[in-house]
Amino acid sequence: MVDVRSGIGEAVPPAEVEDVELYHPHSWWTRYVFSQDAKIIAIQYSTTAIAIGMVALVLSWLIRLQLGFPGTFELIDAERYYQFITMHGMIMVIYLLTALFLGGFGNYLIPLMVGARDMVFPYANMLSYWIYLLAVLVLAASFFAPGGPTGAGWTLYPPQAILSNTPGGRDWGIILMLSSLIIFIIGFTMGGLNYVVTVLQGRARGMTLMRMPLTVWGIITATVMALLAFPALFVACVMMLFDRLLGTSFFMPAIAEMGEQLEYGGGSPILFQHLFWFFGHPEVYIVALPAFGIVSDLISTHARKNIFGYRMMVWAIVIIGALSFVVWAHHMYVSGMNPYFGFFFATTTLIIAVPTAIKVYNWVLTLWRGDIHLTLPMLFALAFIVTFVNGGLTGLFLGNVVVDVPLSDTMFVVAHFHMVMGVAPILVIFGAIYHWYPKVTGRMLNEALGQLHFWVTFLGAYAIFFPMHYLGLVGVPRRYHELGDASFVTDSVHSLNAFISVAALIVGAAQIVFLFNLVWSLRHGREAGGNPWRATTLEWQTPETPPPHGNWGKELPVVYRWAYDYSVPGAPEDFIPQNQPAPGRMSHEAAS
């Protein structure tokens, strides 16, 4: 056994820079609206993300109503159906998950967890949020634009994305979508650079990189990946916007649409797919890695046990992040690219399963011989492991090139990615909100409502997406407004679709319970105190709860140990905060 609580008892390095003076807000507006406090920005990011996420939730209801009961709802015609699936997908992946994990949790937790007063560039941080809000508004505007939003599918594959037989293709839909993505990326870059510099330069004395909580490791690795991956999407969006507005042909070959020759020629549709997935695959991990980090901390705290194999966990995050840049074409096995690419991308994709599996083992081994408190965050963490393992394993089907061939573009794919990057990370988000809400508001969320929300969401989501794999195995293609007749479309396929739709309506409704709980507990929740979970990490050690602007009062915290000193033998309590000096050295180091 190796001692990874590295350097307990080592001298804490002296401060390298003076504590900085923060911007002091002068009015209600600069304090709560145009705020430069990362915590306020985090709440703004989260609220906006959840608001637009509710739109995506309603869209998912409409999608499921059509799939479960085709022909019953006149409102949902083919055009609208494609608009709904496109907007649902894009909102969930970019405007909800990415924004909430990085803009929401990143902003709130990074400064607090590394012991900083704020992000290092608070003004750029504020701009980041307002630009994100603009991106959301531009996206939402497309619902009201002539022709409605784009119906190109969230992957926006040209040529159809900008042609007339796709909703919004020759109207405003695709233009607003591409513009919104471009704006989002500009805003994200401002926030992302901030997170990276804050982690590298803004840590408290004694907070070495290998003492950081895994939450910070997950968020920061995802941020670095996003800074490298989003530019590919950015150029793809700019080029497609040029193709659409200026008549260039970056992605447009010669095309005869309904027998008529178009002006385009010479471009490559597959080039777009490479750019899109060079962004799109890392994007999966941009959503997954913060979830990995957060869930590690939830499990460790609520099982009262150090995370098992901390260093392995850190390296697994970093290796997964790096590998995820060389697997993108596994989304393109049947795209018509040179089939020999399949050997390379199948191999890299299955290699990534190894560090991912290690993370799963370490989570369950953290439970082993723990002292498991079945709190709401712990329940969500357990549910995350179940759904993530399920979704991760079906990834081995789709990553293994030849097995992907029959399953590609079927409901199996839809079930897989919803389980692995929809349900699993969202369960972590819920767990994280139940966990940190007391720090943000000073009050606990209601337990009974939380239990109801948890069980309906977890079991309901599993009931939606587990059987959906089998629809794909049967042969049901994705992105079909209605199935029509085919050999595999039996009555049992229709019944299963109806069952899934009913489950989806129920799970969606359970989220209203959650929202109610968020609002209700603000006033009526039980008082939480500063550290209700008896956790070790710095955000729970703030002098005040909720922490005020500047977080720490007069003195910045000094860090003496790693983030996982739970149930240390011989310690008086089952947790030792990171800023608690080693016994006997207390007076000496506090003075230094």
């Binding site: 190109a152 159809q160 010669a254 009262r304 392995m312 049947v334 011989r369 329940l379 293994n400 097995v403």
Partner: protein, 280 residues
């Protein structure tokens, strides 16, 4: 305790669902039962891992749930255990990847004796072209698509003139003979997908993509489009019929060549344009 019971039920229920549910793949009609076999291997390995992880979690919750006076163990790392788990995972991954790559090699290696058939996609119908007496498909170009030449075939290429053209009709294939399917689109992305053949491939305007298979069962199979191609995507259907050799020859003799078609079409606009506009 409820948590433990539900976790166990969830693992058991998933396995039972897999074994007992009526939802399973359509009976295969091509040589790609290798793909099915690899899929089955993957089901077994992943199913085992899933059940093992969920049951282990259930056991941990049962055995180590909080009771007054409990204390968690303190064990930051265990190099041996971590190494052992990493190694066995690697073995499992290799057990899936190796057969997968082996079969993929077959998938990308088209047999020399395979006959070529062209499938052309456009919004939202399927057309087909078979080589004529010369056994060669002539060249084509999207730029040449015109009302009387909806597939954009090159009139100046002698190899094109005797090609057999089937616009919006059924494709017939002889049983037991490998086919190389050449895929072309004149407008947007499409994907030639027959669930019973297992294989599928995108069709990309501006390039010719391909895959190969050998039909192993006679019958009539539905062609679907598996790549979103606009609002008519679900309606883009076609039919492929696998015939015995004799039936196939009878059918083949009835098909018209490119030159016959252009001659008979004369001045009147062709069927393809009419089809395309009615599908709108």
């Amino acid at each position: 305790m409820a948590v433990v019971v539900i976790l166990v039920l969830l693992a058991a229920g998933s396995v039972l669902f897999h074994l007992l549910s009526p939802w399973w793949w359509t009976p295969i009609a091509s040589n790609w039962n290798y793909i099915d076999n690899t899929l089955i291997i993957t089901f077994w390995i992943t199913g085992f891992v899933f059940v093992a992880v969920v049951l282990f979690m259930a056991y941990c919750v049962l055995r180590f749930r909080h009771r007054p006076g409990n204390q968690a163990a303190y064990e930051p790392e265990n190099k041996r255990l971590e190494g052992w788990l990493a190694m066995s995972t690697t073995v499992g991954v290799i057990a899936m990847l190796a057969p997968g790559l082996f079969v993929w090699n077959q998938f990308v290696t088209v047999p020399a004796e395979a006959t070529e058939v062209e499938v052309v996609g456009q919004q939202w119908l399927w057309s087909f072209r078979l080589p004529g007496a010369d056994g060669k498909l002539g060249t084509s170009e999207t730029r040449d698509v015109a009302p009387e030449n909806s597939l954009g075939l090159n009139r100046n290429d002698a190899a094109t003139l005797d090609d057999l053209i089937i616009e919006g009709g059924e494709l017939h294939l002889p049983i037991g003979k490998p086919v190389k399917v050449l895929l072309r689109s004149v407008d947007v992305l499409h994907d030639f997908y027959v669930p019973e053949f297992r294989a599928k491939m995108d069709m990309v305007p501006g390039m010719v993509t391909y895959f190969w298979f050998t039909p192993t069962r006679t019958g009539t199979f539905e062609i679907l489009c598996a790549e979103l191609c606009g609002v008519g995507h679900p309606q883009m259907r076609g039919t492929v019929v696998v015939d015995t050799e004799a039936d196939y020859q009878t059918w083949l003799a009835q098909q018209q060549t490119f030159s016959q078609l252009t001659a008979s079409a004369g001045g009147s606009s062709t069927a393809a344009t009419a089809d395309a506009s009615s599908a709108q």
